[in-house]
Amino acid sequence: MDSRVLQTWELSLWRGTEEGRFASYQVPCRERQTVLDVVTYVQRHIDASVSYRFACRVGMCGSCAMTVNGVPRWTCRTRIAEVAQGNRIAIAPLSHLPVIKDLVCDMSVFFEKWTTAGGAFVPTPGATDNFAHIPPDHAARRAADAAIECIGCGVCYAGCDVVGWRPEYLGPAALNRAWTLVNDARDGAGAERIAAVAGDAGCHACHSQQNCTRHCPKHLNPAASIAGLKRRAAAALWRGGS
């Protein structure tokens, strides 16, 4: 899709809260426009009451995720020409999260699940005595490295069918975070964290459908992290953990 041959984008933006409707806007096409650029254009030039969330605009902060033509995406790094259907584009808030207004979701539940999954680093008693020696090629280090770059955008959570079916499910991002800490030699809460993620709506609720992996804008593999947690929980069970 070459945006240069188009005059305008036919934009449908979600307006309202849980109850609402799509409103139509026409936005001029520009070179290398992102989805976030288009939403910003609407807010600054057409309707100042449009609410949306962004901060860094360079794919670091994880605050601008929205549903774009039915697919959860980070909008600041998504070229509109690559995801539009013709010149039509529908932008809605992320799925599985309460809508505050227009494109803004309440992320509280999402981050509360990080806490429930043991997402906070717990230093071992002697952690401040000296630096931990962790070789770069250590297997646990590599496992943590592969999952560490999560920006907390919620795209995986919105794309996960299991979250839709079981709202209490911790979700891919929280479990991915737990996996990085389970593999952190400096962390002192491994057993408690495995117990936290192996609960009724924890890692075992995942069907390995890998929607999280497919949609992750950072190309992480939360499905693999969750599979790792399942193995660790089984190993803990084998050793007599609870």
């Binding site: 299991v162 079916w165 079981r166 117990a195 936290a196 192996a198 609960g199 009724d200 924890g202 075992h204 609720a205 399942k230 929980a233 089984a234 803990a236 069970l237 953990g241 609870s242």
Partner: protein
């Protein structure tokens, strides 16, 4: 369900899936062989009678199915409905016992004539 319980169920489902994978192939192979040779129902039953190997195989098959199916059904119900908790666990166990009872009865009937 306790935290260890969820991990235990996950392991049980994976192990039973492995057994079922082999058992289903053997079962289908046996059916295809019997059909290909052209055995009558009476000929099949006569071969099963007092056959300890068949009885053992199908008891393992039935046990694996009785473990595997209710765990999956419990997960599907929890996802598709609002049914959760102890009553769902009890129902899943009851379904497991029903599957095992029906399957064991069929195996005993064919191999021991009970």
């Amino acid at each position: 369900m306790s935290r260890a319980g969820e991990a235990r169920l996950w392991l049980a489902q994976r192990i039973s899936a492995g057994i079922l994978g082999v058992a289903v192939v053997v079962h289908l192979g046996t059916i295809i062989y019997a059909a290909h040779v052209g055995f009558s129902a009476a000929a099949i039953i006569s071969r099963l009678h007092d056959n300890l190997l068949f009885a053992t195989f199908y008891f393992v098959f039935v046990a694996a199915a009785a473990v595997h199916a209710p765990i999956g059904l419990r997960a599907v119900i929890a996802e598709m409905t609002a049914w959760r908790g102890r009553s769902l666990n009890v129902a899943a166990v009851a379904f497991a016992l029903l599957l095992f009872a029906l399957g064991a009865h069929a195996v005993l009937l064919l191999t021991a004539g009970v």
